[in-house]
Amino acid sequence: MMADARRTNRVGCGQYRQDPETPLPGDLGMIASVTSDAAIEVRGLRKVYGDIEAVRGIDFTVRRGEIFGLLGPNGAGKTTTVEVLEGYRDASAGDVCVLGYDPARRERALRERVGIVLQSCGVYRHVSVREVLTHWAGLYPHPRDVQEVIELTGLGEKADARTRQLSGGQLRRLDLALALIGDPELIFLDEPTTGFDPAARRSAWNTIRSLKALGKTVLLTTHYLDEAQELCDRVAIIKGGEIIAEGAPSELGVGGEIRYKVAYRNGSGELTSQETDDPTTVLFELTRGALDRGERLEELSVTRPSLEDVYLELTADE
C-alpha cells in the first residue's frame, strides 16, 4: 500500500506539472494538492554506498517560498541528501520530486530553475569575476543583471579581479553569485558561510533573506545553529542518515515538548535552576514563596531552549 502510494506520487509529480487543473482520483489527488505548494518532496529516500547506508529512508517537504535547513553532524547524510536533490547522485530507493521534476533525469528545464552552491568547488581561474558571471548568465534563459548580482553579493570591489586573486570568503561569495545569476526559483546552499568573518556572515544572511523576500525557495545545510535559527522557517535535524527532529527552530523540542529553564539565585546566594514544561506554575510558586519570605529572587530568568541546546541533546551519542 505504502509502496503503491509512492509510485503514484512519482507519476502524480510529472502529471501535475503538465496539467494542474485536472483533479486526480482518490488519495492521488490529495498528494497532488500537497505537491502544488511544495518545491521539494522527499519520500523514503535511501542512499547506499557499498555496504554503508548513508541515508536511511527520510521524508520531508520543502514548501515554496520557505527557507528550509538541514542540520546534522559531519557524515550525517546532509550532503548526500542534497546531492540527490541536485541530480548529482541517484537515489538507491525512494522518491524525490524537485519543482515537479525527477532530478535524476537531469532535465535542462529543471537546471535552468535551480541554483546550486556546492561545499567546495573551484571556478575558472584566469577570468575576472565579471567575466565568469557574464559567461554563466548566458547559460540561463532569464538571467539576472550581472552588475546587480555583483553588488548583491558584495563583490563590487573585486568585480574586475581575476578569480584566483580572491580570498576564501570572496570565492564563497562568488559561489553564491554564480548560483543566483540564473534567477533560480530554488537555491541549494551547502554550508554557504563556512570561512566567513562575522560581518560577511551577517551580509550573506541578508542576501539569503532577500531571496526569501523575492519568493525564492532555499534549502540550506549548515553547521552553524545560529545561522539556522536566524534564517530558517523550518529545519530538519539529520543524524546517522535519519531525520530525528523537524519543525520551526523555535518549536523544536526533545520528545515533542519544550523544556523551559527557570534560574535564580536563592536566599543563601547559590545559583539554582530547574527545567519545566510549565513555567507559569513554577514561576508563580517560586515568586509567591519568595514574597512570603520577603526575599528577592536575584538574577531570575526564564529561557526557552535554543536550537543549539535541542541539537546537542538530540545528536549526543548515548
Binding site: 548529482y88 535542462r108 537546471r111 535551480v114 573551484g122 581561474r125 584566469h126 547559460l139 540561463y140 554564480l178
Partner: protein
C-alpha cells in the same frame, strides 16, 4: 541561445583562458618548436634526417596538444570541482566538453601549421604533397589521442601526480615511435612495440603527406591502427567518465 552559440561561447572562453595562462601556453607551443630547432640544428647537414624530424615533431605536437594537454586539463578540472560545478548548470555536458576539445584541436592546428612552415622555410622540407592525407591523419590523430588523454585522466589520482602519469607514457612512446630518428633503423623488438602503438602510424601518415608523397591509399593500414586506438580511447573515455574526483 542555440547550442551552436553556446559551443562558440564556451570555445571562446577556453581560448581566452588558455592565452591568459602564459606559462602553459609557452610550454604548449615552445616545447615542440624547441625540439624542432635543436634536432634541426643537430641534423642540419643531412636532408634525409631532416625529412624524418619534421613529420616526427609534427606528430609529437599532435600528441602533446591533445593527449597530454587533455589528461592534465581534465584531471585539473575534475580535482578543482569545476566539472561538478558546470554539471549543475543548464549547459549540456557535450557542449562543455566539446568547447574544451575544440580548444585543444585549435592548438594542434596552430602547431602543425607552424612546424610545416618552419620545415619549408628553415629545414629545406618541401611543402606537403598530399594535403588531403595530411588533414585525414591529423584529424584521426586528434580523435585518437584526445580520447586516450581523457581516458588516462580517469586513472590519475590527483593533479600533483598527473605529470608522472602523462610522461611515463608520453616520453617512451615518442622515443620508441621514431619522432627523432627513422624507427625502421631501430632494434627489431622496439620496432615491434612501435608497430602496435598509434604514434608510429601517425608519423608514417604525416611523413607520406609531408615528405615522401606516399599516398593515403598506401597508408590505410596505419589509419586503421589509429582508428582502433581511437575506438578503444573513446570507449574508455566515455565509460569511465566521472564529473568528480574520487574521495576515499
Amino acid at each position: 541561445m542555440s547550442d551552436t552559440a553556446l559551443l562558440w561561447r564556451q570555445y571562446r572562453l577556453e581560448r581566452r583562458m588558455f592565452w591568459r595562462n602564459p606559462s602553459a601556453a609557452f610550454f604548449n607551443f615552445l616545447l615542440p618548436l624547441l625540439f624542432l630547432a635543436l634536432f634541426g640544428a643537430i641534423f642540419s647537414s643531412s636532408q634525409s634526417e631532416l625529412d624524418v624530424i619534421v613529420p616526427g615533431i609534427a606528430s609529437l605536437s599532435v600528441m602533446s596538444t591533445t593527449f597530454s594537454a587533455l589528461a592534465f586539463n581534465m584531471t585539473f578540472l575534475r580535482e578543482q570541482g569545476i566539472l561538478k560545478r558546470v554539471r549543475g548548470t543548464p549547459l549540456p555536458s557535450t557542449i562543455y566538453l566539446g568547447g574544451i576539445a575544440l580548444s585543444a584541436v585549435t592548438n594542434t592546428v596552430i602547431q602543425v601549421a607552424i612546424i610545416t612552415i618552419s620545415g619549408k622555410l628553415f629545414f629545406g622540407v618541401a611543402w606537403p604533397q598530399e594535403w588531403f592525407e595530411l588533414i585525414v591523419f591529423v584529424a584521426a590523430g586528434v580523435i585518437c589521442f584526445a580520447s586516450l588523454g581523457v581516458a588516462l585522466s580517469h586513472f590519475i589520482p590527483n593533479f600533483e601526480s598527473a605529470p608522472a602519469y602523462v610522461n611515463a607514457i608520453f616520453l617512451p612512446v615518442i622515443f620508441i615511435s621514431g619522432v627523432f630518428y627513422d624507427s625502421d633503423t631501430a632494434p627489431a623488438f622496439l620496432l615491434d612495440i612501435a608497430q602496435i602503438l598509434p604514434l608510429k602510424h601517425l608519423i608514417d601518415g604525416l611523413s607520406g603527406a609531408m615528405v615522401t608523397g606516399v599516398g593515403l591509399s598506401d597508408n590505410l593500414g596505419s589509419l586503421a591502427v589509429i582508428g582502433l586506438w581511437a575506438a578503444a580511447g573513446i570507449a574508455l573515455a566515455v565509460r569511465g567518465f566521472s564529473w568528480e574526483s574520487r574521495r576515499s
